[in-house]
């Protein structure tokens, strides 16, 4: 499915990804963990095709096709989906209009007939229940005034509607309370299928209690430094990133802060 070889990427001249290698087969769920600043979100954005990040070397293929030379919209049409860490608010474009446009673009791409407004509404209402989002949200502007949890559920709803081949979940657990985490996890588990790959990017282990991955990778300073099974996540939870000799900047920064306070 997805093959990443020696991927290097920079933003504004700073190299963030320093040689990522990763193979994800169809049906597998991979988790990428790592401290803040390790490059997790950069990897997600690069895979989705954000121009703000420059790929300086390496290759990425999706089902054998070069992903990096494709425009963002073409990657999406080929089945790449990114659930954003910070979904964008777009007042003036209704969630419904946005999702229907996206779904119909995808259907058109796949040679299927477009859904009319009534058909789509019916379908969207069902999916919104699946992520416990009131159908009234469909009429609001895209993510406009949504709480953090509602935004994340809206992302999962889009994934369920678009049925991607590769779903990348960027810190989908951040900002969620326990109940919302359960709803979002159920949505992600509903996405699991033999012909779909899922790449979860997360700082914490708790998401992985709900969505058990097949593989866990630890990202540090732009490289995968350790890979293993789900037990690796538990070990990280217990022993922290320092166990792998990784400085967790968030932790380091907060201890530096408390030191200076002393």
């Amino acid at each position: 499915m997805l093959s990443i070889k020696n991927l290097h990427a920079s933003v504004e001249g700073n190299e963030i990804l320093k040689g990522i290698n990763l193979e994800i087969k169809a049906g597998e769920v991979h988790a990428i963990m790592g401290p803040n600043g390790s490059g997790k979100s950069t990897l997600s954005q690069v895979l989705a095709g954000n121009d703000a990040f420059e790929v300086t070397s390496g290759e990425v293929t999706l089902n054998g096709e070069n992903l990096l030379e494709k425009a963002t919209e073409d990657r999406a049409r080929d089945g790449v989906f990114l659930a954003f860490q910070y979904p964008v608010e777009i007042p003036g474009v209704s969630n419904m209009q946005f999702m229907r446009t996206a779904v119909n673009t995808m259907r058109h791409h796949n040679g299927e007939s477009e859904m009319n407004a009534a058909e789509f509404m019916k379908h969207a209402r069902e999916v919104s229940k699946q992520v416990d989002l009131d159908p009234a949200f469909l009429k609001r502007g895209v993510n406009e005034g949504f709480s953090g949890g509602e935004k994340k559920r809206n992302e999962i709803m889009q994934a369920l509607l678009l049925q991607p081949k590769l779903a990348i979940l960027d810190e989908t657990d951040s900002g969620l309370d326990i109940d919302a985490l359960k709803v979002v996890s159920d949505g992600v588990n509903a996405l699991r299928s033999e012909d779909r790959s899922i790449l979860m990017v997360t700082h914490y282990q708790r998401l992985l209690d709900h969505i058990v991955p097949d593989y866990v990778h630890v990202l540090s300073d732009g490289k995968i430094v350790k890979s293993g099974g789900p037990e690796l996540a538990l070990e990280l939870e217990e022993r922290g990133y320092a166990w792998l000799g990784i400085k967790d900047e968030a932790t380091a920064a907060s201890s530096a802060l408390s030191n200076s306070a002393n």
Binding site: G49, T72, A76, F81, T101, A102, T105
Partner: protein
């Protein structure tokens, strides 16, 4: 120092004598006042950004002929009055003959009615601020007066289709005067369209007088061709508890200028002014609005949006003047602007003058571009770049488009917007 350019005398010869004597006399008097009138220049504050687009050539001074013109057969969902080159075409018009709502062309007025009208034309406008409206008063060849008696309600929108036929250079001077009696109601749609390709000028004046409790909605669509300079003024005077709502939607041209002046003279009057302007190519559009809060307890709400693409230029100047006695005024003005290209220009200026001490007055103006993050979000879902641009641009003005109270007008606006998007985003 070079003397300031003045209005060419070629403009001082009105055509069309088929008007009642009092109106002919008024025209003559207004014409005399225009002799040696200085034309606006860059140094004229209210024409600062637009004077260079104003081209009043002698060829343009000629009145466009109406003889034999029938106009485009437009179907409208309501009543219809057709003007061609500023002259009403009765055969193309369809409106009811009612006791309580009188719709008359100037030429059909009795001398007494015309005399009354002559005394009231221009009374809603601050002539110093709308210099070129004087040209309309000196040159109108016809016009429409609409009088609603107390409690009269026009059951359907009245569309006034103003067409100019630009087969040759020249000008047209359409004129409308509305007198809305106590508690009366009307929705008036002005559509400005054109045919032909020669450079022409349309100079319009529309005036509304709202008596106590009157409720007037005015929709104004400026849709003329690339050869049409449009200079228009709308004056509104509101008495106690009256309500005026305007929706001005404008598409650019070589010069489009609209002055909208509202005077809130009676307590509890309220006005809502919405405006949408889109420009592209080398088009220019300039909206100047003035709201005078004269009486206490009046509300005004103004929302204008400009979108400028390519090398076009849009201007918004919104003035709110709260007079000393206008306590408890509530005025809200908001102008947002979207630049779709680095070559486009938008100038916006809110002007607030407040002389009362117990008022609520808010204003805001912003200028920005389409948000890259939003575009990335949309395209990451497979939506094409062009479509993403259209969605976001539409989102910028949709809030105002959906408020236009006549569906057929919204459809017309959407059709024109789609043409605009086709042009503006063709290279994406």
């Amino acid at each position: 120092m070079k003397p300031a350019p003045t209005l060419s005398t070629a403009f001082l010869h009105p055509a069309g004598q088929a008007l009642p004597e009092p109106l002919l006399a008024l025209r003559k008097q207004r014409g005399a006042a225009l002799v040696d009138m200085p034309l606006p220049t860059r140094k004229t504050e209210n024409w600062k950004y637009s004077s260079k687009y104003l081209k009043l050539t002698d060829e343009m001074a000629i009145s466009l002929p109406t003889a034999g013109k029938t106009g485009s057969a437009l179907a409208v969902p309501g009543y219809k009055v057709v003007f061609i080159n500023g002259v009403m075409i009765p055969e193309a018009s369809e409106y009811p003959d009612l006791n309580d709502i009188l719709i008359q062309r100037f030429g059909d007025l009795s001398d007494a009615e015309a005399s009354d009208l002559a005394g009231r034309l221009d009374s809603t406008l601050d002539s110093k601020a709308v210099q070129l409206a004087g040209l309309n008063s000196a040159r109108f060849e016809d016009g429409l007066v609409i009088r609603l008696k107390p409690d009269a309600v026009l059951d359907q929108p009245l569309f006034i289709i103003h067409e100019v036929t630009a087969d040759a250079s020249g000008s047209a001077f359409p004129r409308i005067f509305v007198d809305a009696g106590r508690n009366s109601q009307i929705t008036l749609v002005e559509e400005y369209i054109s045919s032909g390709q020669e450079p022409v000028m349309v100079n319009t004046v529309t005036e509304f007088n709202l008596a106590e409790g009157a409720n007037v909605t005015n929709i104004r669509l400026s849709m003329g061709g690339e050869n049409v300079q449009h200079i228009g003024a709308t004056g509104v005077v509101q008495q106690r508890s009256s309500r005026f709502e305007s929706h001005c939607v404008g598409f650019g041209g070589p010069l489009r200028r609209h002055d909208l002046q509202v005077r809130l003279e009676g307590e509890g009057a309220e006005c809502k002014l919405n405006g949408v302007v889109v420009t592209q190519g080398k088009q220019h559009y300039d909206n100047h609005t003035t709201i005078e809060h004269i009486a206490a307890h009046c509300d005004s709400e103004e929302t204008y949006r400009n979108i400028a693409a390519d090398k076009s230029h849009a201007v918004f100047n919104g003035r709110i003047h709260i007079h000393q006695d206008a306590q408890k005024s509530n005025a809200n003005m908001n102008n947002k602007n979207l630049l779709l290209s680095t070559g486009a220009e938008i100038d916006t200026k809110p002007e607030l003058e407040i002389y009362a001490d117990d008022v609520k007055c808010a204003h805001g103006a912003t200028i920005g571009q389409l948000d890259e993050e939003s575009i990335f979000y949309l395209v990451s879902r497979g939506i094409g770049r062009r479509e993403a641009n259209v969605l976001l641009t539409m989102a910028f003005i949709n809030e105002l488009v959906v408020q236009i109270p006549v569906e057929a007008v919204r459809d017309t606006v959407q059709t024109h917007l789609n043409q605009f998007f086709d042009q503006a985003f063709q290279e994406v």
